[in-house]
Each structure stands twice: as structure tokens, then as C-alpha cells.
Subunit: 230 residues, 2 copies
DNA sequence: AGAAACCTTAAGGAGAACCTTAAGAAAACC
DNA sequence: GGTTTTCTTAAGGTTCTCCTTAAGGTTTCT
């Protein structure tokens, strides 16, 4: 079910490479060691990588060349790890497309923190819509369990209320008209009574308010509809 | 017309803040200084930011709290800039949602390189082939969400104002007469009071002006009508 | 300079849109 | 089949936007 995250480790020093791989494994990602520039290129051709850890000083081919190769096509995230940690090389690397730069000797925890941070950033757009969690402010919906948690308290919503909240949460800030709501919540193309929406909205708001009196989640846009503030 | 990229600089030291703003300007981005945690929060509420530079040591509110606020909702990119550069704080920051960490004293070039690197990465994610959008200068209308963003600021428009703006935006440079406006915005063939249009136009212009005082979006063509400058 | 078209601001009334509460109808549950 | 929950309808109240009017000002054209 979980998707494997593949990380290519390009580093000629055997010990360091293994250490890096160990760090990655510990974070539950899948490392692949490459010990030279040419080897790295083969791996890069072969498949897509979620992230590349790249040493700048390599036999056969410099890290800069590989970096250029990577950034020339796919926007694969790259973290440079190098002993050559002058400001110049740092800046040059970042400018030529690297996402981060870690100096050698490195701190184990920092490496994994930076890897996770970058992956977090790059994964954001890949989040499939089938991801079964919706979050906004302190509202959390588990779509699979159909459970709503607001400000730490579980909400007991009715079917309609739940459907409305899920719709609003699916696109925060988007204004949903009453027709939108009827189409989505009631599965009806024709317009029912507007007041039906009003009542459910009122009930939903009451429950949200009870869970967190300090927030006003749903906004009314006069003449247009409703929207969830984000 | 290039789109403006807005960067919030949260740093209590006046000199450093100004220096950072200068760096940002030099890279052709648009900086906004905030000198305290509370001030930062106000700016964060007010509009969307493409990136936040955040000092950890602030009066009134710690950077950690602000970081938590930011990451709790939108995935706004954050770079921490701090003198507290122990491994522990570094790692803690990254793990709690920061995208990068720069130690003080910092290298000017490195700051801009890291900013550009992170923006490069986050811009890619935004390439969501989103729905029907209208764009002109720095006005953006999401027709589906009925959301209007001008110069990075969300606009709260009434139904009439929204309809007028959408009409103008649908054909920049085209001159819309008052009859056109009545037909399209009011769904009425007959002419209402001309002054009604005046008043709505005035209100709309006010809201646009508040969002961006430097632009004059709507032009009056004497005896003919109005048009959106493109 | 004078006239016409347009801008701005404010205030009040009208009416639409919305909120809330309660009670009967429908559906779901046991 | 009866009970409970949920949905809808109805009614009365509230709020907000729009429209209109009006007055004083500005801009543009002749």
C-alpha cells in the first residue's frame, strides 16, 4: 500500500556511502548506492528517483556534471554532500539546480532531517486525491473511517453534514454555490429548497462551534455561496 | 507581465532585516519586513506568501511558534535564519516543517541562492493545470472558486463587483458600455440608472486600489464606457 | 469658460439572502 | 413494529447588499 521512496546515493567512499544508506533506511526510504559518476548515470537513466544524494568529488566524472545532467531534464530533487564546502561551491551548486547542500563531515540527524524536509516539499503535489486524509486548520477528516476531528474532539456528523464538510474541505477558499452543494451532496441536478442548505449549514456550524468556539470555519459569501476559510 | 513573488522577512534586528530585504530585491522578488512575531502573524493572515524567511529568536513570540502556525495550514515554504545554529535546533526546525536552515552570520550570496533554489522547487509544484482561470497583469480570477487575487491579496467582492470584473477581464482592452454592463451584470436589456454603474465601478476600483495602489486597472473611456488595461 | 460626462461619498429604504428554531415527515436502526 | 435519528418544511426574524438619490467635485471636450 505504501509507496516506496527511492533515493540514489552517489558517493565513492565506501564507508560514507554505506553510512548514508543506513541513515536512509532508518527513515524507511529505499537507498541505492552508486560509487562513481558513470554508475550514477546508469541508475539515473534506468529509473526515476525521488531524491539524489550527490558527492561533488567523484572519480571519472565530477558531481557538477552529474548535477547538470539531472537538472537538465527531470526536476529530480538533489542534495549535495561535499567536503568542498567553500561558499563558492555551495552557491554554485544551488544555482545550478541543487536543492540543498550539506558539508562533510555531516551530522547523521541533519542528513535525515534535510532529506525528509525536501521530500515533504516535493511530494506535496504528488499527493493523490485518493489519499484518505483531509486537513485544514485544526479540522481533520479521515475519509476512509469517515471520522472528523476538530480541535481534538471527534465530531458526530450526519450524512449530509459530513458530505458538506468534505466538499468544502476538498477545496478550501473555493466558493460553493447552493447548486454546487445540491449537485455534490444530494446528487441532484435540480435545485431543491435553498433553505434545506441553510439548515444543514447552520447545524454543521453549530457542531463546529461546539468543538472550537474560537474559530469561524465556514464563511458566507452573500449571493455566491459558502467557503471554508483556510 | 511577470508575476510578483512575495517574500515575508521576519527578523527583529533592523539592520539584518533591511539587509535581507535588499538581497531579496536584488533577486527581483518583493520583500516585506516584519519585526516581531505578532506583526508576522498579521501579514500571514493577510495574504499568501511565496516564501517566509524566519528568525528563530524574536520578541513576543518565538520563531518556533510561528513556524508551527505556518506549517499547520498552507504549505508555505520557510527558510530559518538563526544564530542558534546547534545541530539540535537545526534538526528540530527541519523536522517541524522548515525547508531550509541558514546560520548567522550568513553569506549574502548563499541566502539568495537558497531562496532561489527553494522557489524553483516550490514553483514546480504549483503547475497544477488548474481549471478556468482568468489572468491579467496581477489580477487572477479562479472562475470555479469565484476567487479573486490581486497582487497576492484575496479580494472580497460582492456579486455585482465580481460580475463586472469578470466581464472586463474576459476581454481586456475591449470597451464595455453601460448598456453592455446592464445586459451582462444585471441581465436586463433595459437601461437602469447610469449612476448605479458609477457607484459599483467606484467601489470596485476602491477594492482594487487597496490591494495594489500602484496600478490603475480600470480605465474610463469618455462617452463610451470602461475597459481593463492589459 | 462653459457644458457635459463622469467620480465620489454618504445615507436611507427595500428586498433579497440568509439564519434559526421548532415540528412534522422520512429514513434508518434495532 | 416501534424507536430513534435525520431530513425537510415552514415561519419569523435578522442581516447584508443593492439601488437610489443627492450633492459637490473633477475631468474632458468644444
Amino acid at each position: 500500500m505504501e509507496q516506496q521512496i527511492n533515493i540514489l546515493v552517489v558517493e565513492d567512499n565506501n564507508d560514507i556511502n554505506q553510512l548514508l544508506c543506513k541513515i536512509i533506511k532508518k527513515s524507511n526510504f529505499n537507498p541505492q548506492a552508486a560509487y562513481s559518476g558513470t554508475e550514477a548515470l546508469i541508475y539515473l537513466e534506468k529509473q526515476k528517483w525521488d531524491l539524489v544524494l550527490l558527492d561533488l568529488m567523484l572519480p571519472g566524472m565530477t558531481g557538477e556534471e552529474i548535477l547538470a545532467k539531472i537538472t537538465s531534464k527531470d526536476p529530480t530533487p538533489v542534495i549535495i554532500i561535499s567536503a568542498k564546502d567553500t561558499q563558492q561551491t555551495k552557491i554554485a551548486s544551488l544555482r545550478s539546480g541543487a536543492d540543498d547542500f550539506i558539508s562533510k563531515p555531516f551530522d547523521v540527524e541533519e542528513v535525515s532531517a534535510r532529506i525528509e524536509s525536501l521530500l515533504r516539499r516535493t511530494k506535496q503535489n504528488k499527493e493523490t486525491p485518493s489519499s484518505n486524509q483531509l486537513t485544514n486548520k485544526d479540522i481533520q477528516i479521515d475519509l476512509e473511517a469517515k471520522m472528523v476531528v476538530v480541535n481534538g474532539t471527534k465530531l458526530a456528523l450526519t450524512v449530509r453534514e459530513y458530505a458538506i464538510l468534505v466538499l468544502l474541505m476538498s477545496s478550501p477558499n473555493k466558493i460553493f454555490s447552493k447548486s454546487n452543494l445540491f449537485a455534490s451532496v444530494w446528487n441532484e441536478s435540480f435545485q431543491g429548497d435553498d433553505n434545506t442548505v441553510n439548515v444543514h449549514m447552520s447545524n454543521l456550524r453549530n457542531k463546529l462551534f461546539k468543538a472550537n468556539p474560537n474559530e469561524d470555519y465556514i464563511e458566507t459569501i452573500w449571493g455566491m455561496g459558502y467557503r471554508l476559510k483556510s
